[in-house]
Amino acid sequence: MSNLDFVAEGKPADWVPLGDLQKVVDPMEMFFELPRKTEFITGSEAARESIRRMNVDIAISYPITPQSETMQQAGYLYDEGYIKDYYRGEEEIGVMSAMAGASRAGIRCLTATAGPGLMRGMEAIASWPGARTPIVLMDMCRVINTPLAIQPDNIEMSFMLNTGMLLLHAENQQDFYDYPLVAAIVSEEVDVTLPCAVSVDGFFVTHARGQVSMTSKDYKLPPRDGWRSAVPAMDNENPPARLARDAPIQKSNFISYHMHSSWQQEVFAAVERSAKYFEKYLDGCIEVINPDAEEFLVTSGAAVSQSREAVRQEGEKGRKVGLIKIKTIRPFPTRQLIEILKNVKRILVPEFNQAGWMHKELCSILYGKCNAEIINGPRVYGGMTMPTEMILEWLAKHRK
């Protein structure tokens, strides 16, 4: 939007969008070097501060609890001039489709949704990776099955595992500030050019306060360069703009099957290529506590927080329990996990969902690579949290 559009919306003639006053800094400088200040804020506020520094061109969303608070905050950012364009879509298929269009135009796109909203938008979301559209999708996990509930349960993440999306799992408010910024940068790397979802367990993180250390709001990430991309951005200045990426990909003859399969191979190869960037910007795709332990808790998201407390309480009793936090679900850090887990005795996989998708992921990569007993749990679902006491109980039960 030009300044005139903002003036038409009621801003004074000399209004300057605050985003224009921010200084662009190199991502590595933003993530590791700039001084930080710690504030005690909610996950939704942490998300807002992340978006403020993300240099977002357009944010579109449809409200759904527990995401609404974040995107309401994004509205304020638009008003202040940190986001260049912003609107509320009609519903999620419309929102996710609009995201696809906006990203094809070569600009930085942000949306957010939760549970049932993600499921509704899934048709469009599943089409993003093949279209090679960098997009940041904030996903505040919420129960999706009946009976209806608004509490966190991260089964919805399993539906994104095989789409070609990049997928990060934030543990706490701090991660929900850091990860979306990293997501924006990695998704736009030339040899990646893929959308990236940042999931977080809703409510427990979004509606609760935690310590978040942040850089000054005077700095923002570099803008997206639409031409630095695996596929060219759509040229809207010279019609007719091409809407489909490549005509021969449309299914019509034998050749197109080969093209389609190689196109998919390339998408999933790009997912793997993103790992080196996540390694760099997230300071590792995994975090390991007590690497020499014989029994391990391996998990992601909010279950990591509960596991940290379990590890601390076991430590107070003189028992060493290991913990691996998996930050990147896609790309899955297969090589690093095998390296650490190949000689351990027992692995427990605490999860906030019924299906145990993380347990399945681990079983599939560790099969034939390690002799550990991989315990099928502990799990909670339907939106409740996992009490530390439950992890301690499972550890004790399986030691016998």
Binding site: H207, R209, S305, R308, M386, P387
Partner: protein, 239 residues
């Protein structure tokens, strides 16, 4: 340094300020130099519907998140949480740890069933009754200050946050940059601000209620040995 960990479950009904109370306690602990986190839990936001809020307090970094299943301390903001079952946790003391504390806003003891009495006795639960709503009506002239009385009483029982940090937290809530609140809470905020001509008057009424319940717990012999009454000077608190 000995490790202090308190897990507090607050239960009340919509409109009483349970979630606000948890924010004020939690922020007060952080202001005093401790660690704290909280999470609220409610269904559709409406008057008289059950509300729970969970506060973790520690002198170390807190990792755990989510609702508290096994609390040390229960705060019951309204007798109907127990008598009418207006609660997500039934019976209300489910999960209470051994030798835990139950603080109930009620002038008179609640008539428990024999089973309830036995189960609470088995847990070694200590029950403190506090006339928080009466205090709010007498001192602040509004029952909306009930949550302030509950905050003061909890701070006295734990010995933290200290009264000054708690006061700073209250000031931060009403005149500072505050927190992101829901539409329903915003409506209550503006209702109470209209009642008090100036925010200053609202703050003063809140402070007096805090002090009174703090003192009440000390007088009853239920307060922590660290609980100290100090004169709160609103002007000197910066937020």
């Amino acid at each position: 340094m000995s490790i202090k960990r308190y897990n507090v479950r607050m239960a009340g009904i919509g409109g009483q300020g349970v979630v606000t109370a948890s924010h004020i306690i939690s922020n007060g602990v952080v202001i005093s130099g401790g660690h704290s986190s909280l999470v609220p839990f409610f269904g559709s936001e409406k008057r008289n519907a059950p509300v729970e809020s969970y506060v973790r307090i520690s002198n170390e970094v807190i990792y755990e998140i989510g609702e508290i299943i096994f609390p040390n301390i229960l705060l019951i903001f309204h007798p109907s949480v127990i008598t009418l079952g207006k609660s997500y946790t039934m019976p209300f003391y489910t999960g209470l740890k051994q030798d835990g504390i139950i603080m109930i806003n009620s002038k008179v003891p609640i008539p428990f069933s024999k089973d309830e009495e036995r189960e609470m006795a088995d847990k070694g639960a200590k029950i403190f009754y506090l006339p928080a709503t009466e205090m709010a009506n007498d001192i602040a002239k509004t029952e909306l200050a009930t949550n302030m009385a509950m905050c003061g009483a909890l701070a006295a029982v734990l010995g933290l946050p200290d009264l000054m940090s708690l006061a700073a937290s209250v000031k931060d809530r009403f005149v500072g940059k505050g927190i992101v609140v829901s539409g329903g809470t915003q409506a209550l905020d503006s209702a109470i601000e209209k009642k008090f001509a100036k925010k200053q008057k609202l703050l003063e009424a809140n402070m007096k209620t805090l002090e009174a319940s703090y003192q009440y717990m000390i007088d009853k012999g239920w307060a922590h040995k660290d609980a100290k009454v100090i004169k709160i000077d609103l002007e000197t608190i910066t937020v």
